[in-house]
């Protein structure tokens, strides 16, 4: 079972863009990825699979639970939110700005084999963890061997 990023414009990304991305990845931190161009900032996401669940871990440091929403519609899971710069910091004299701020939205097509009504999301230490339980049919089953 595979969970894949939903990239509606995938076919429009030219080979040149992919080459640029390779160069960026190799020579330094990519500022924007082709599929990110609509957003100023996008959180890093890991997707992994265990025996029972598909787990999505997203890094949203400094954001509170209320700044992010997780929704599921038509088998598409969408993470969206806004990382805001604190008000008092706006008037300050900045010496260094490496953190990124702004709105983001990312969507993932769910494999049909998860149970959308049993999805759980928890937030701790800047990591949003979404647990998608697999449906019973796709879980690995042990088949007992009988000796005759």
């Amino acid at each position: 079972m595979a969970i894949t990023r939903w990239r509606p414009f995938r076919d429009l990304i030219s080979i040149q863009d992919e080459m640029n991305r390779l160069f960026d990845d190799f020579f330094g931190r990519p500022v924007t990825r082709p599929e990110w161009t609509e957003a100023a900032w996008c959180p890093c996401v890991d997707v992994s699979e265990t025996k029972d669940n598909v787990i999505i871990n997203t890094e949203i440091p400094g954001m509170s639970k209320d700044d992010v929403t997780v929704s599921i519609q038509d088998n598409v899971l969408t993470l969206s939110g806004e990382k805001k710069q604190e008000k008092e910091e706006k008037d300050a004299n900045y010496h260094r700005v490496e953190r990124s701020y702004g709105s983001f939205s990312r969507s993932f097509t769910l494999p049909t084999s998860v149970q959308p009504d049993k999805v759980k999301a928890t937030y701790k230490d800047g990591i949003l963890r979404i647990t998608l339980p697999k449906s019973e049919e796709v879980k690995p089953k042990q088949i007992p061997i009988t000796v005759e």
Partner: protein, 122 residues
Amino acid sequence: MTLIEFYPMLRVGSNGWEPDVDIFETKDGFVISAELPGLKKEDFDLTLDDDNLTLEGEKKREDKNDNQKLGERKFGKFSRSFVIPDSANLKKIRTSFKDGLLKVSIPKSEVVKEREIKVHFK
């Protein structure tokens, strides 16, 4: 007020990941905010040696044996050092750590604040 540049001196040990940092200065002091998503208090140290403030630690994967489908997050050991300007009051450094964001507040010493002199032109 003295205009001392507050700058990172070393960027070592960055084999893949190091925290993103914002540094700003107000009338009263300096604030460093560092993004440490997924780290716990015991995963990093903040040490002050003379006028060098060092933030170092390790960002570890929470799930080690998983079958990964997409991996954008980066992990590893990091160390970043910052030179604290003379105007800072090192005895009054305060830190807070919440939702993966470390904030270090360094007030300016009173002496420095008083040193501000207005110059009048005739």
